[in-house]
């Protein structure tokens, strides 16, 4: 059945597709979970809708309320859609070095954007949103970095969907941002598949984004629990771009740049399993499609040109 009462009902149950050409052998297979097939086109729809519904159940959100959220884009877009359908106002604090498509989409969905400085990246957006929340105690900050409903969405939906479609799963690979996808899906899979490897791919940006004044201004999301992970890789823009392009050239999947970083880590795990002569079924998250990143230059020219164009941008 693929009929729903409203767009919100069409959340999740995304396809898991094999990548026969990128997989090293018939024994070591890669599987892509197409999260771009969600209502606003990203994995963040799951967290956004779960966080809103949890806040409604707790009585924090009532019609007419204002939601405030620090976001580099996708969570904001998901929240903006859900807020529109449920009758809330949305204010997003977003770093100014994110793509123009994200700003245009947020504005179209009716969200208001408060820009935060490029230097310091999302850290600055989080700090600013916390300050604004203090000034507006009646606004509701869902706070994706620490809201248990973010991880719970993946524990209840993403994890069970993957296990249903791939009972032989050996590895789960996803991007590390708020950590919600990895914590929720990872916890569920660890309970059901004892030897599962949970691999994090963390985007490594240009220096501007790490421009803190002091190490003590660093940030680790409250949701993060390292014991859920087997390992964690830092993936730079060059590798992320290379894999994003490979994914479309070899398997026909047009994904965003953070997915390239995730595929890079998935291929490393695949290579390791193949070398060790082990069977592996590796599922990874396609976080969103490439549409919102066309203006970054990631999909045009040489790899070196695309890498130069991404310098200083929050590309994941």
């Amino acid at each position: 059945m693929a009929r729903y009462d409203s767009l919100l009902g069409a959340l999740g149950d995304t396809p898991l597709v094999g990548l026969p050409r990128l997989s090293p052998s018939p024994d070591v297979r890669l599987w892509a979970k197409l999260e771009d097939r969600n209502p606003t086109g990203s994995v963040k729809d799951r967290a956004a809708i779960y966080m809103i519904e949890a806040a409604e159940r707790e009585g924090l959100l009532r019609p007419g309320c204002t939601i405030l959220e620090p976001t580099s884009g996708n969570t904001g877009i998901s929240l903006a859609m859900a807020a529109k359908l449920r009758g809330y106002r949305l204010v997003c604090v977003m770093p100014e070095n994110t793509s123009i498509e994200r700003k245009q989409l947020l504005t179209m969905f009716g969200a208001e954007i408060i820009p935060s400085p490029a230097a310091g990246g999302s850290n600055q957006a989080v700090a600013m949103a916390k300050q604004i929340a203090e000034d507006h105690p009646d606004w509701v900050m869902l706070y994706q970095y620490g809201n248990p409903a973010n991880a719970q969405a993946h524990y209840e939906t993403t994890g069970p969907e993957i296990l249903r479609d791939l009972p032989s799963i050996t590895h789960f690979v996803a991007g590390l941002g708020t950590t919600g996808t990895l914590m929720g899906t990872g916890r569920f899979l660890r309970e059901k598949v004892p030897d599962i490897q949970v691999v994090a791919a963390e985007p490594r940006y240009g220096e501007l984004v790490y421009g803190l004044r002091n190490i003590d201004e660093g940030f680790v999301p409250e949701l993060y629990d390292a014991s859920v992970l087997t390992t964690r890789f830092s993936v730079g823009p060059r590798d992320a771009l290379l894999r994003t392009r490979q994914l479309i050239e070899v398997e026909g999947i047009f994904a965003g740049i953070s997915t390239g970083a995730i595929l890079h880590a998935a291929l490393a795990a695949a290579g390791k399993a193949a070398k060790a002569g082990e069977k592996a079924d590796i599922a990874f998250i396609v976080a969103d499609g490439g549409w919102k990143y066309l203006s970054t230059g990631a999909y045009a020219g040489t790899l070196a040109e695309a890498e130069a164009a991404l310098e200083g941008q929050l590309w994941a």
Partner: protein, 90 residues
């Protein structure tokens, strides 16, 4: 044995502004001791109460050392070490 270490902007006051420095050591701990000899004070910014500072991430060949033995992570000639402050994503 040479190991290339990438230094984040906020710690370059210790390396005379250098983005990368060379170091030596069989383990990450050994590397930090070696680096501290050449760039005094650097080690104190990376380690707190005998463990890696909560807001410091260190990667050997792009893998987070907290999953490979932390300060006891073994190093080999030609390894690349990246030090970064922990920042928010999402």
């Amino acid at each position: 044995m040479a190991i290339e270490v990438r230094i984040p902007t906020i710690l370059r006051t210790y390396t005379g502004g250098a983005k990368t420095v060379d170091g030596a050591g069989d383990t990450l701990e050994g590397l930090f001791v070696d680096l501290d000899g050449k760039h005094p004070g650097l080690r104190d910014r990376l380690i707190k109460d005998g463990a890696l500072h909560r807001f410091v991430n260190v990667y050997v060949n792009d893998e987070d050392v907290r999953f490979t033995g932390a300060l006891e992570t073994t190093l080999n000639d030609g390894d690349s070490v990246t030090i970064l402050p922990a920042v928010a994503g999402g």
